[in-house]
Subunit: 328 residues, 2 copies
């Protein structure tokens, strides 16, 4: 039976050993004879024992919890965030950790609070901005942490991200190879750029970095009619445009529509490449090549790095995941 209030003493009594022995069996920090260990484990199972998290954290100075601070803000691409959350929780559980959910509006003070109260052993910060006020706090706090994204000065921090610069470049390259001389990047909503979100800036840089192409970046809202309008205006303003990279997940279907309406034949006289989930690129007609934002992998990597740091092992300062272009 599961039990409320089953303590280590109960387990110890039932197994006929001292409480400390139970603790050692469970943590493996001292060698225990197999017979004793078996008896203890049986008692644990019988009683449905789970150590009291507070007591454990008090005694061991380890909470078994990591905090993730999520950006819940304008223009953020929600599905990707959920993938992220799911990946992070799954990986954390594999390391026997739980995840505390924080939102970016708690800001630096929120970080200070969870750190000072020893609620969590480590922190993962998502959607880091180029100048992010939380980063300085993080440095002072000295709590092990991992950032998803790169702030302007990432010296001494552990950062993980897709190499968005490369992703932008890959898209430009793809379009160039298809013979496009004039191309555009249809990006996230304006707000994302204004906020100076790292990934948006990097994609732009990468996209514009290829010499010999006329390229521009066009922010784009997330709603059907506005996507259509944006595309229409873009085509009107740039009649020579023959290549488009779309880094705005919900827009993709509508972009395809607008292109069709404008008489562009995608894959023939016009080329489109997507930065986003595979499904988005697969489930339009015609299917599009795409660069995946590997949210789950990023989340996993971030959590793993954090776990290594918690164990005092070292991790690379920056991990940039190479973008993969999938042709379809």
């Amino acid at each position: 039976m599961a039990g409320r209030g089953v303590t280590i003493a109960d387990v110890a009594a039932r197994a006929g050993v001292a409480a400390s022995t139970v603790s050692y069996v469970l943590s493996g920090k001292r060698s225990i004879s197999p017979e004793t260990a078996d008896r203890v484990m049986a008692a644990v199972a019988d009683l449905g024992y789970h150590p009291h998290a507070g007591a454990r954290s008090l005694a061991s100075r380890r909470a078994g919890v990591v905090a993730m601070m999520f950006p819940i803000r304008d223009g953020m691409h929600l599905p990707v965030l959920m993938q992220f959350a799911a990946g992070a929780v799954a990986e954390a559980r594999r390391h026997d950790q739980d995840v505390l959910l924080m939102t970016a509006d708690e800001g630096p003070a929120g970080l200070a609070r969870v750190a000072a109260s020893a609620m969590v052993d480590g922190l993962i910060l998502m959607d880091v901005e180029v100048r992010d006020p939380r980063v300085e706090t993080l440095r002072r706090l000295g709590l092990p942490n991992v950032l998803i994204g790169f702030p302007a000065d990432s010296e001494g921090l552990t950062c993980v991200d897709l190499d968005f610069t490369a992703a932008g470049r890959v898209c430009a390259d793809y379009l160039a190879e298809r013979g496009c001389g004039e191309i555009a990047l249809l990006g996230a909503a304006e707000a994302v750029y204004e906020r100076r979100t790292g990934f948006a800036e990097r994609v732009r840089e990468g996209f514009l970095s290829r010499p010999g192409l006329r390229a521009e970046v066009q922010p784009c809202p997330n709603y059907p009619t506005e996507v259509q309008r944006t595309v229409k205006e873009l085509l009107a303003a740039r009649p020579e445009l023959t290549g488009l990279a779309v880094h705005n997940e919900p827009a993709v279907g509508h972009v395809m529509h607008a292109l069709a309406d404008a008489g562009k034949r995608v894959g023939e006289d016009f080329h489109v490449v997507v930065i986003g989930p595979d499904e988005v690129a697969e489930r339009v007609h015609p299917q599009l090549p795409s660069v995946l934002v590997p949210a789950e992998t990023l989340a996993q990597t971030a959590v793993r790095h954090l776990m290594r740091k918690l164990d005092g092992r070292d991790v690379p300062d920056s991990t940039l995941i190479e973008p993969q272009l999938t042709l379809r």
Copy 2:
């Protein structure tokens, strides 16, 4: 300065009082003279003191954390979930609680674990299914909890939800009033129905409940081309169809397109109503009437109810939020 390792004893020393006095000042559980209280608060601020969460939970048997179990599953409508999460975290913080993030794949065992380890004081379960294995566990556990959604037997549980049955009915009514005799509900992905998610079933029921209408429910995938195909097939199969309710957020834009392609003039010879966020209904052309799924309100209500339960106050067993049709 923020401080690692600032304890209540440090605060007490600096304020020249006993540790217990500090505790009473902070909790307000005994009366303390204003002068003493001021001195204590000053010391707290100076030292950047935050109580050690583990110690507090051990001594007071209150963790200051609630768990939310999220459905991260096929066909779930992600943006709504994020609104939910954001609303819940914000409200929880207002009550000085933190939120532990769990995913539905942890299942009943996960609930048992967090309960037994006294990690959390309460639980919020989202996306409850008609027959949900977690519900039985929840009953046994005796941890205060609130469900978002209604299981088949909600006896003795606290459940909160939009009245989806009414929402379905409101949509059917709207279409009927516009003179539609044959209508359809374009719903979530098939998987959501198969899983017997409560809200999907209820919308269906409500939608089909109005007498004198030929009505049917059509599950619909979330991707552009499939949405188009589904709509096209539906129109072909039901030439008399003149009204459509769409309960599938990302599909709305594509539905509108497919209708336009089929020569339907929405608002004139054909009517569409949306169940979903305002933006989705506003940002298509023409703007559509819609029933809002008030994710943030639901989350807030759920958290508030949970807080009341934690305080031993009582709460209504079931809270059904009345759907509002917004005409545009």
